[in-house]
């Protein structure tokens, strides 16, 4: 079993990477607009299907397809904000949240209507990949980790070094104060949607690249992504990354942890032999973690630590 560890680490890293890049957009939006956007993961699905369209249906190069999908989804996200959520800036948070529920239903089924419910894959060669420390990385997985890392670093630099980044941080800290300091918070909001949307699209594309896509995938990941956002604390970009790593590893390693030792109080008692989380329940892990977080510390494990 221990020989599986390197492979599990690879799988965990991929899961974490995807969750992180999708989570960034959600946490920013949650922070600036004060509501949980249920439709955010559908942006990832949209991006994934756009890549499918450009790569498989029009037969363009995968990189071009991804770039296009990211940009288009970012623009779509901005468009949705303008059309739908802009009216709801001052309203209590339940209204935009329920609206986002409706939006998620509409997007998900729109994709389903256009492309059907079958599973799709991208036009990529099945390469052999490389072996590092006993773990097998396919080339696509290396690219995925690379792209996500570059995106994160790029975003970090944007936040720290650019005027826009400063404006974003100010708006996130205190919207009214930012407005008073003559920051155009509406423009900042648009940028947040664009970046969040395009990152989500990339995340969706990664999923498609690594495995496959289907119209329900957005709903499948909505809880894990929310979980990651809540773990790291809403608005905390770096928290999202840490939360994603935690969840990615817990999900992949969790089914191998033998809880018997815990239950037997470290050998004091002998109640049970082996207690594992059944494989069928693997998808439940993020759900349970989410409920536990919300029960005990809704502000997130890392609390509200502003991106320093």
């Amino acid at each position: 079993m221990y020989s599986m560890i390197p492979q599990l680490i690879v799988n965990s890293l991929i899961t974490s990477a995807v969750l992180a890049i999708i989570g960034i957009g959600l946490t920013m939006c949650f922070d600036i607009l004060k509501f949980g956007n249920f439709a955010h993961t559908e942006l990832a699905v949209l991006g994934a299907y756009l890549v499918f369209f450009f790569n498989v249906q029009i037969q363009w190069n995968l990189a071009v397809a991804m770039a296009l999908a990211a940009v288009l989804t970012g623009l779509f996200a901005m468009f949705v904000d303008r059309l739908v959520f802009k009216k709801m800036r001052e309203v209590v948070d339940v209204i935009p949240m329920i609206t986002s529920l409706g939006l998620s239903i509409a997007i998900r089924n729109g994709i389903r209507a256009i492309w059907g419910s079958d599973i799709r894959v991208y036009d990529v060669q099945l390469s052999s990949g490389v072996q590092i420390f006993g773990a097998h990385f396919t080339y696509s997985q290396i690219w995925i980790l690379g792209i996500v890392t570059v995106s994160m670093v790029g975003f970090h630099l944007l936040l720290k070094k650019t005027k826009l980044g400063k404006a974003m941080r100010a708006t996130s800290d205190n919207r009214d104060l930012a407005e008073a300091s003559s920051i155009d918070t509406e423009r900042v909001t648009l940028y947040v949607w664009f970046i969040g949307g395009s990152f989500a699209a990339l995340g969706g594309a990664m999923i498609g690249w690594d495995t496959q896509i289907d119209p329900m995938m957005g709903f499948m990941i909505v809880i894990p992504v929310f979980c990651v956002v809540l773990l790291g604390g809403i608005g905390n970009i770096y928290g999202v990354i840490i939360g994603a790593i935690i969840l990615g590893f817990v999900q992949n390693f969790g089914i191998f942890i033998d809880f018997a030792t815990l239950i037997n109080l470290g050998g004091l008692l002998n109640i049970v032999d082996r207690v594992l989380i059944p494989v069928d329940y693997k998808p439940v892990i993020p759900f349970v973690i989410l409920v536990i977080i919300l029960l005990f510390k809704p502000s997130g494990i890392l609390g509200k630590e502003k991106g320093k």
Binding site: G36, G110, R112, P283, F287, V288, V291
Partner: protein
């Protein structure tokens, strides 16, 4: 004859959905609690009936049991609402709904796992039963909301501070709100089981929660009459489009998707322009001399 049995079916389904929608409206429209996992009440109610009916338990007793089980689930869920506000609790309930469904999917001993349970119990005059129970549920929620108890629930909807400052034990009221919502939701689930006579986890996907949300949102939060109106409208839409595939060049999958797009857009539209729903809440007018 086909038409008659179809109308039968539609009446039953609409009555059952109405009851289900009333349970959500009670929690959200009156109580202000956002439950995105409402389907788990349906699930517990249906599975309780499926299990007891298989064992030969009488119809009335099964239904009461289903309501009790669901009510208890609601009571337990209220503990999660204690520290959490709207958004967070919505996410949590969505998660719980899925956990429950996956549990029933995996646990064969509990309820047949992926294969579900089927039983053979035909209820005579089922339409009469569903309609009567729908009317009773409606009457019940109206009566409860007209009482002083209902008044406190309405006050809690707007925030905990005022009722707390007036000495109301807000958490206790929330527990009861969830329990009542659970009881009514369980009733819907029980009837659903008797109607289909075969249930499996596929019947309790999140889509059920979404549809009933559309009903409550369209109908008008808080106004039970509106909720019924919303249920009927959505059901008419559903049934009306059922046969669209016979006229349009689309397959059943696309049809299902298109219908859901309409549902999603409808929810959005109502929230954007008519957030109080099409049948807004009516205020209680007192005679003041």
């Amino acid at each position: 004859m086909q038409i008659l049995s179809f109308i039968n079916y539609w009446v039953n389904i609409t009555a059952i959905y109405s009851i289900f929608a009333l349970s959500l409206n009670f929690q959200y429209g009156h109580g202000g609690l956002i439950n995105f996992g409402q389907v788990f009440f349906l699930c517990f109610g249906a599975y309780t009936v499926a299990i007891t009916a298989q064992l030969g338990v009488n119809f009335a007793v099964s239904i009461v049991l289903a309501m009790a089980v669901s009510g208890f689930v609601g009571f337990l869920m209220s503990y999660t609402a204690r520290n959490m506000g709207g958004t967070y609790w919505g996410i949590a309930t969505l998660a719980v709904g899925e956990i429950v469904r996956i549990f029933f999917l995996n646990e064969n001993w509990a309820a047949g796992g992926a294969n579900g349970i089927s039983f053979d119990v035909k209820i005579p005059y089922f339409e009469m039963v569903t309609l009567t129970l729908a009317a009773l549920s409606f009457g019940f929620t109206r009566a409860v909301m007209a009482s002083p108890f209902g008044r406190v629930i309405k006050a809690i909807r707007e925030g905990d501070n005022l009722p707390l400052s007036l000495g109301k034990d807000v958490f206790s009221f929330k527990k009861k709100t969830m329990a009542i919502g659970g009881i009514i939701g369980g009733l819907a689930g029980a009837l659903f089981a008797y109607q289909k006579q075969f249930i499996n986890p596929e019947d309790f996907m999140p889509i059920e929660t979404f549809i009933v949300w559309a009903m409550v949102v369209v109908g008008g939060k808080g106004r039970d009459m509106g909720t019924l109106g919303g249920a009927i409208i959505i059901q008419i839409f559903y049934v009306g489009t059922r046969f669209a595939k016979d006229f349009l060049p689309i397959d059943s999958n696309t049809l299902a998707a298109l219908r859901m797009i309409v549902i999603g857009l409808l929810i959005m539209f109502v929230m954007m322009y008519r957030s109080k729903g099409f049948f807004p809440e009516k205020r209680r007018l007192y005679k003041v001399t």
